[in-house]
């Protein structure tokens, strides 16, 4: 069991600083924007100016988790599918349009995927293990698998999270990268796992790169934990497919839109659904990219 010590999300829902996000969900309207906290409460304004949306969201969600627990992180593991897209695009424009020999390096140095986890370590002066996983739609799950392994190796509080940002150019290539008409959005979810018992725990997470059949993979995963579909109180899924036999489910992309690490928000919903219900299970099913399946099982406990 990997008990959730704190959780924080910045999304198109009013998720930041909300006690129970599941209770306040509203279906995403056409042009609903990201609901951002007041970033200057967390980051100095001079530093904030240089930070892209994905960096702002990641740093602030991480700092919010840090403020909620009274311990330093023993490890930081972050998943991001497309990384720092705005700085990447900005630097592509900068060097393609530059005529002289002097070009500004600021977008370049913030374009690497691990700028998110690196900036978190910088902001918190954290010297521990610092990792960044990127695996399309299972980027979050692979980061979580790493974080759980850090707990197994003795870490007592591990920051796990995921963040992705949308840029306008993604719409141009939509049909080449994804089969969905949902809007590309931005979002970040971070949480802390550890051994200290709390009301909700991550039981397990898997990231399957090749699979024959999603329905049977779900059953295999549940069976491995001594469960069947009837034992799952709620399923949070990326598309609502293969839900026969489950009592309740919702598609989290209807609420936060489409970003490749949106399943991390699915975990936040599962967490908030479970925390007011003792001894239940919830499942997050993520197949945002066809054929690549992320499954995360959570449970609730008496404390």
């Amino acid at each position: 069991m990997y008990y959730v010590q704190a959780i924080s999300s910045i999304t198109h829902q009013a998720s930041f600083g909300t006690d129970n996000v599941f209770d306040v969900l509203t279906e995403l309207e056409g042009n609903a924007g990201l609901i951002s906290p007041n970033y200057t409460d967390y980051i100095h304004p001079s530093a904030l100016r240089r930070l892209s949306p994905v960096l702002r969201m990641g740093i602030v969600a991480a700092k919010d988790c840090h403020a909620k627990i009274s311990a330093e992180f023993d490890a930081i593991s972050v998943g991001t599918a497309l990384g720092c897209l705005s700085d990447t695009e900005k630097f592509l424009v900068t060097f393609n349009k530059s005529t002289g020999d002097v070009i500004s390096p600021s977008a370049f140095i913030q374009s690497t995927h691990n700028t998110i986890s690196g900036q978190i370590s910088l902001e918190l002066k954290n010297h521990s293990y610092n990792m960044t996983h990127t695996q399309n739609n299972v980027s979050f799950e692979t980061a979580l698998i790493d974080g759980m392994m850090c707990c197994d190796e003795g870490a007592s509080s591990v920051l796990v999270g995921a963040a992705d940002e949308a840029i306008g150019f993604l719409e141009n290539i939509r049909s080449k990268v994804i089969h969905s008409s949902k809007p590309f959005t931005s979002g970040a979810t971070f949480f802390v796992i550890g051994q200290k018992k709390t009301s909700v725990a991550i039981v397990d997470s898997v990231a399957l790169n090749s699979m024959d059949n999603r329905s049977s993979e779900i059953d295999l995963f549940l069976t491995a934990h001594g469960l069947d579909r009837s034992a799952i109180g709620y399923v949070f899924t990326s598309d609502g497919q293969c839900m026969e036999g489950f009592s309740q489910h919702l598609d989290f992309t209807n609420y936060v839109g489409l970003y490749y690490t949106a399943s991390a928000f699915g975990v936040h919903l599962a967490h908030d659904w479970l925390k007011v219900r003792k001894n239940h299970h919830a499942l997050v099913v993520n197949e945002i990219c066809p054929g690549k399946l992320g499954l995360t099982l959570l449970s609730s406990h008496e404390v």
Binding site: F108, L122, A207
Partner: protein, 391 residues
């Protein structure tokens, strides 16, 4: 639990495979020269001398992909040569990359900027995760596919992740390493940071001015003992220690005392269960930038209590291959043990004055090399150390 290495593969400016790489190292012949491509020709770079089409035909690659992916396929295929996918041996692929399919995307994006039109299909190769999936499609399928992107420590971190998954029992065997191709994006990026040397780079030399970029890929195969009984492979060496630590000082510069580097080297020694004085050779990160080589030297002095073992940076051979360097240098570290050789730090004439540390300057043979330490440090203060041990 022991983590065995049962395969290795590499491609870089030094050669197309392990054997050619060894010959270049022994003959002290750098692969760095004036670039030949539109985006490289103004610079000293370590290019792989094949076009993408030549890579596909020469190495019989079936799967389409960016240059990063093609280079990765070549090295991963060599590493996995002689291995088979068999039931009961859960096998994964974990690859580090920082540019992913940028070599393709940047060409199309430039056309988009200039003409407002481009071939949108080609962006399907962009994501770093996709580059690993394409390598997996060429030699897999694998049960677990994972990409690490922590800039210049990516491949070292991929190797570490693989070792930990084997130790946990999640996998029995895993191909680990990294790949990066030369792109306008990274060349312009390092140019904007003004840390290029227009001549050959000079790691750990007082006169060093900066780095030369390179491209390539390096992978090793890790296996548990139980897996070796099934695959019947003869191990080359062991991976005995690993660690990652954060410098938490600056996005691109290392702290003056090399705090993150000290932490990663010290913790890797702990994982390996050996003392600092048991290290026979260090393959340094040694990018030849003023900041890296000074702070890495300071960290050496701290970790090794002023008695620094023989060390060298092989980046004057390959160029700095960014996310791939930890994989390429893992292969070089293994060769050091299997061949009993210390590989030289080319272009060195004067020690860094305040450090007084002299790297290995010529290839030294008939050495007894039991434990090799390999460092890889990246943007974001991401510091990684691996320790390879002789069997």
């Amino acid at each position: 639990m022991e983590i065995y290495i049962s395969g290795y593969g590499v491609i870089s400016a030094l050669g197309n495979n392990v054997e050619e790489t060894l010959q270049s190292l022994v003959s002290e012949k750098s692969g760095i020269k004036k670039g030949t491509q539109l985006h490289t020709r103004r610079f000293m770079v370590g290019e792989v001398p094949f076009s993408n089409d030549e890579l596909k035909s020469t190495f019989h690659l079936k799967t389409a992909g960016s240059r990063t992916t093609l280079l990765g396929m070549v090295a991963a295929k060599e590493a996995f040569h002689g291995h088979e996918l068999i039931p009961g041996v859960r096998t994964g692929l974990i690859s580090g990359t920082s540019v992913g399919g940028m070599d393709v995307s940047e060409q199309e994006y430039r056309r988009f900027l200039v003409d407002g039109m481009c071939d949108l299909n080609r962006f399907s190769h962009h994501s770093s995760g996709t580059s690993t999936e394409e390598i997996a499609a060429e030699i897999g399928p694998f049960e677990f596919v994972n990409t690490i992107s922590t800039a210049c420590s990516s491949a070292a971190n991929a190797i570490m992740m693989g070792a930990r998954l084997i130790r946990k029992g999640t996998l029995d065997r895993v191909i680990v390493g990294g790949t990066d191709s030369l792109t306008s994006f990274t060349i312009s990026g390092f140019r904007s940071l003004m840390i290029f040397d227009e001549e050959w780079c000079r790691p750990f030399d007082e006169s060093r001015k900066g780095l030369n970029l390179g491209e390539g890929a390096g992978y090793i195969v890790l296996e548990s003992e139980k897996s070796l009984l099934k695959t019947k492979k003869k191990p080359l060496a062991k991976l005995s220690g690993w660690s990652n630590a954060s410098d938490a000082f600056h996005q691109t510069a290392s702290s003056p005392e090399g705090h993150g580097a000290v932490l990663s080297m010290s913790k890797a020694l702990q994982v390996a269960g050996i003392e600092a004085n048991q290290i026979s050779y260090i393959n340094a990160h040694g990018t030849a930038t003023p900041n890296n080589d000074l702070t890495e030297s300071v960290a050496f002095k701290t970790v090794f209590n002023d008695v620094v073992p023989p060390f060298s940076s092989t980046k004057a051979f390959t160029g700095h291959t960014l996310a791939a360097c930890g994989g390429i240098e893992a292969v070089i570290s293994i060769l050091s043990m299997t061949e009993g050789m210390l590989f030289p730090n080319l272009n060195h004439s004067n020690n860094i004055a305040e450090m007084g540390l002299t790297p290995v300057v010529h290839c030294s043979k008939n050495e007894s090399i039991l434990h090799v330490m390999s460092n890889s440090f990246g943007f974001g203060g991401n510091n990684s150390t691996l320790i390879f041990s002789k069997i």
